[in-house]
Amino acid sequence: MSGNHGDILAYVPLLVLIGVSTAIALAMVVGSFLLGPKKPTAYKATAYECGMTPIGSARERFPVKFYLIAMLFIVFDIETIFLYPWAVTYRAQGYDLKIFYFAEMLVFVAILFVGYFYILGRRALDWDESERAVARDPISPEILAPRPPIRFGNEKSGPVRRLPEPAHVPAYGAVSQEERIAALTSRRE
């Protein structure tokens, strides 16, 4: 191919762009490293994350529903791959071919729409899978159960004001839900 680089030479500006952007990014990092003042203190050296000390791995385990959406995204991504050349060439066609093109893509998209409605029907895009369970039991015992007082880490600096214990909090299941809610809310006041 040594004689004819016609198609490749069109990419030289792209190459230059990539080179320049890499150089700028590198220059920023290296420049600030070289030129910036460095006065480390103990506080600056600690990791900072919203006031919390970072504990554990940075890798989070995401719930499965995210994967489902990512998987479905890939499928529809491929659809776009087919749509793009179609959209670019559609206008240039004659009338007959336009109808043919249109029908072809219509069938393709219709079949994928069957998949889309299937996804909607199966509620595969819903974020909260336990929607109905929550609806059945609006105030779950976990939410209402008395919790230990929150520790702020400053307990030693002064007396902690505790909420007064209510005289009588019935055990869960001993009385009806409504009574229990009433008892607990009175305690909060």
């Binding site: 680089h5 016609g6 989070e60 479905l72 299937y118």
Partner: protein
Amino acid sequence: MLILFWILALTCVGASIAMVVTQNPVRSALYLVITFLCVAVFYVMLSAQFLAAVQIIVYAGAIMVLFLFVIMLLNLGAPQALRERGTLQPFFAAVLGTAFVVMLLLSNSLVALSKVRPAAPPEVYVPLGTVEGIGKNLFDPKQPWILPFEITSILLLVAIVGAVIMAKRRIQDHTP
């Protein structure tokens, strides 16, 4: 050009070998990304620009991100689960040997291709790889791509159904 080819080819093969050799699946995935990117550049060098873009969007973008997601998911659940045991399977050597024989055979026979049929000139193949070139041919009723195109949508539909069945925790029960 030849130098570029050699650099890329070495990177590509090196990254793929590193992908197989490394024991950490996350690193494997990242090496695979390098391989995919090299292949994308090869597509550009072969004047298949549209495919190069698609390669980056679909492979290096979507598919690899999904791979990494899944690795992360499994990693945190059971940190030991993903460690490779590092044992070579007994037939590894045999496979390697035969594979190399096949490769040598291939490369010997491949050299003859240009003698059998000379390569097409650039003015023939350059317009084929652009978006217009792909679109004009892919949807042309006189060419045999219509049926594969339509049944690809069926395949994607099956994939949608499969992903939902496999990955969704709770599908409504049909039994009372």
